[in-house]
């Protein structure tokens, strides 16, 4: 990717021309600025630091406001992020400021995953900007840019060196966001200790390959002051919203029995330097770096991950559109295949069910036949029995008839005999 513009090289085929009189396009920067005033600005700061290290107080002090933050507990099971958006105005400039604080950072017993919610948050903001940018009907000019422009990393004022949590976290974040490390609660360190501490921190960052934000040196107007400030990193800050009377003025300060630490006194701490650098001199550059470096990197990685490439297999430039169309084709073909598969399966199942049912039907049929035969057999047997019975009956009744006849005959014979006897 092209590095930051030093001076715009004249294009080939473009001739420099001198004007014979006043044309008036020198008002262009003014026109641009006026438009921006109408639109307003957006600035998003992420503050990472342990609970109680003074993030909220510093934000309040930086922006001269009470952002109504309440103290967090030390017993959060996981690191969370809390984002708050404010609309600030100074003279004719409207700023939509979003301050994101970590909650519970460094409080867990196991800090291995502490950085992950932060990384996720930053990625989510990039993702939502990318989504907006890729939409067909998009409104980038009205879009509320929530990408993190500056990350203030609060270092504990141990006076010795960075904690491993600090190194790990900053290493994970340095390619995603502009990191500005600050030494918090700097009034607990003496001047000489502070100097050594700063050197130690910077050398540790360098030796671990952590890329913190460097104030830009390409614009002559601010190159000098930025170079000086780059040498004062990390800024040792003290935050306070309370005012103490010093001399005949009321200043923001922290009052101790042994003296008063004045926030805006450059001999006491680097607060003024931080405010100058963060807001007055480099706010626009922070926003630009976020957009042209960090966001582009995210976008590139995300799109490559999704399978888009700029050049095809023959190293011919392939447009995003072509890739998308190819993918779409793929997807539709896949869809068709799946549909066919499903259809086939359905047909199969139906066949199976059909044959099952047929089988069952056949079985029933055979059972029925069997029963019918049995029944017929039984009926035949019964008929036979009946016939026999009938025969018996008829033979019996014949015999009875014969017997009766015989009896009757014998009776009449006896009767005759009797009569004959009588008659004798």
């Amino acid at each position: 990717m092209a590095s930051s513009d030093v001076a715009r090289q004249p294009d080939k085929g473009v001739r420099p021309l001198s004007l014979a009189g006043h044309v008036g396009f020198d008002s262009l920067p003014d026109q641009l600025v006026n438009k921006s005033i109408c639109q307003g600005f957006c600035f998003n700061i992420l503050c990472i630091g342990e609970t109680g290290i003074g993030k909220s107080t510093l934000m309040d002090t930086l922006f001269n406001t009470n952002f109504e933050n309440f103290e967090s507990s030390h017993f959060e099971p996981q690191v969370k992020l809390r984002a708050q958006t404010y609309d600030l105005q100074e003279s004719n400039v409207r700023l939509r400021l979003t301050v994101v604080n970590t909650v519970g950072f460094g409080d867990q017993m196991n800090k291995q995953e502490s950085y992950q919610p932060v990384v996720d948050y930053i990625d989510r903001q990039f993702e939502s900007y990318l989504q907006e940018e890729l939409k067909i009907k998009r409104s980038l000019h009205n879009y509320h840019d929530s990408r993190v422009h500056a990350c203030l990393y609060f270092i504990s004022p141990s006076g010795h060196s960075l904690k491993s949590l600090d190194l790990v976290t900053m290493k994970k974040l340095d390619s995603k966001v502009n990191i500005i490390p600050v030494i918090a609660k700097a009034d607990t360190i003496s001047k000489s200790e502070l100097h050594k501490f700063k050197i130690k921190i910077m050398s540790e960052l360098v030796s671990n390959g952590v890329q913190i934000y460097q104030f830009p040196l390409d614009d002559e107007t601010v190159a000098k002051v930025n170079t000086t400030m780059n040498g004062h990193l990390p800024f040792a800050v003290v935050g306070s919203t309370e005012e103490v009377s010093v001399g005949n003025k009321m200043v923001k300060a922290r009052q101790y029995p042994w003296g008063v630490v004045q926030v805006e006194n450059e001999n006491h701490c680097d607060f003024v330097k931080l405010r100058e650098m963060l807001i007055c001199v480099n706010m626009e550059d922070l926003r630009e770096q976020t957009h042209t470096r960090h966001y582009e990197l995210y976008r590139r990685c995300k799109l490559e991950e999704m399978g888009f490439k700029d050049t095809g297999p023959e190293s011919k430039p392939v447009s995003l559109q072509q890739t998308y169309e190819a993918k779409r084709q793929e997807f539709l073909v896949e869809l068709q295949k799946r549909e066919d598969e499903m259809r086939q399966m359905f047909v199969q199942r139906v066949k199976e069910k059909e044959s099952e049912l047929k089988e069952a039907e056949r079985e029933l049929q055979s059972r029925f036949e069997q029963l019918k035969r049995l029944h017929a057999d039984e009926k035949a047997a019964l008929e036979e029995k009946k016939r026999l019975l009938d025969e018996d009956q008829s033979s019996f009744s014949k015999r009875r008839a014969a017997a009766q006849l015989l009896q009757a005959q014998s009776l009449t014979a006896n009767g005759k005999k009797d009569k004959d006897r009588k008659n004798e």
Binding site: A7, G21, V23, L320
Partner: protein, 366 residues
């Protein structure tokens, strides 16, 4: 040094006032919309002694930062001039930018013949004024309206404009993008109306009707020194009526007015268009001053005198007041419309290729 003065000098700017605040607390955190007005900010207390207001934060310094960045990057402007030959397009460009920016002035072997078909020729210049650098590209369209049969003469021009949008779109959707996408999109198209004094010709109407949908059109009455003031007013009124009757929206378009203030300013401009202009790159002595003008037997027409012609209004509109606005409308409206059309076009093309009825396609994102 300005930096230190911020810290020490008393400031008159009002204290920082938070207007609204909102908060959202959750695992996945997203800034919410505004909730309720917050407490007022701190003010610097003065207890006797010099009045020092320490509540200045320095947010308004961002304007200065923006200005610096803009100056460093420079600006780009692409203007297209369209009109029949002989209407003074090149001269007007030279007058507007007070230097020889037109193609004819640049090319040593200027072919004076009128080309057989419409050509699109662009030439770029690096100009600088008071530290502000600009790359100005003037796009000329020789041959427009000069043929016997001028049907479809807008096509090459339309194609050129769309090609520039296409080039920008292709750059924008690359995976590896340039830090600053070179902007070759036509920001403004100046259309030259011949000073007949009657009404618009069918060619004018057709061209402006089609192109006002893709680019900002600024119509001007060319060679206005052939019209008397009454003729000019009549002509302008007629033109405005005809534009309205044909639904042609020229710059500044009514629908893109952002607020009441904009509308007021733009209404005044809309009542004056088309500007009746006279161009000249020759200077003459008038009343002891050297002025750009055209010298005739009956007098000298001063180009920058608003009593003579409306060149100054055109220059002010295009350059001094509305240049940024013209560029913004090109990029946020015309370009976006092209992009939407183009991306939707792909969806329908794909659909037809696959025999999928259009209503099956969800609102696809890229």
């Amino acid at each position: 040094f300005w930096l230190h003065s911020n810290c020490l000098e008393p400031r008159n700017s009002p204290a920082l006032n938070p207007l609204y605040s909102s908060s959202a607390m959750s695992e996945a955190v997203v800034p919410d919309a505004m909730v309720s007005p917050a407490v007022g900010g701190l003010h610097g207390e003065k207890a006797g002694g010099p009045a020092v207001d320490f509540s200045y934060v320095g947010i308004d310094a961002i304007l200065e930062q923006m200005r610096r960045k803009a100056m460093k990057q420079g600006f780009e402007l692409n203007i297209m001039v369209v009109g029949q030959s002989g209407l003074g397009k090149s001269t007007l460009m030279n007058t507007l930018f007070k230097s020889k920016v037109s193609r004819k002035s640049v090319l040593a072997t200027a072919q004076e013949k009128i080309p057989k078909t419409i050509e699109i020729k662009s030439i770029s210049h690096d100009i600088e004024e008071k530290g502000v650098r600009m790359k100005l590209t003037v796009i000329d369209t020789p041959g427009f309206g000069d043929q016997i049969n001028n049907e479809n003469c807008w096509q090459p021009i339309m194609k050129f404009i769309n090609d520039q949008y296409e080039a920008y779109l292709q750059e924008e959707i690359n995976i590896n993008r340039k830090k600053r996408i070179p902007d070759s999109r036509v920001h403004c198209c100046i259309y030259f109306i011949p000073p007949t004094g009657h009404c618009l010709r069918p060619l004018d109407v057709e061209f402006m009707r089609r192109l006002s949908k893709v680019v900002n059109i600024v119509p001007v009455i060319a060679k206005a020194d052939t019209l008397t003031l009454e003729e000019r007013d009549f002509f302008k009124k007629k033109i405005r009526e005809e534009l309205r009757a044909n639904g042609i929206d020229v710059y500044p378009q009514k629908e893109f007015d952002e607020d009441a203030e904009d509308r007021m300013i733009n209404e005044k401009i809309r009542e004056m268009i088309p500007f009746a202009v006279v161009g000249s790159d020759q200077e003459y002595q008038v009343n002891g001053r050297r002025l750009l003008g055209r010298k005739t037997k009956w007098g000298t027409i001063e180009v920058e005198n608003i009593a003579h012609c409306e060149f100054a209004y055109l220059r002010d509109l295009l350059i001094r007041t509305h240049m940024q606005n013209i560029k913004d409308i090109t990029s946020s409206i015309h370009y976006e419309m092209y992009r939407v059309r183009r991306l939707n076009e792909n969806n329908t093309v794909m659909a037809h290729a696959n025999g999928i009825p259009e209503h099956h396609l969800a609102a696809h994102e890229m």
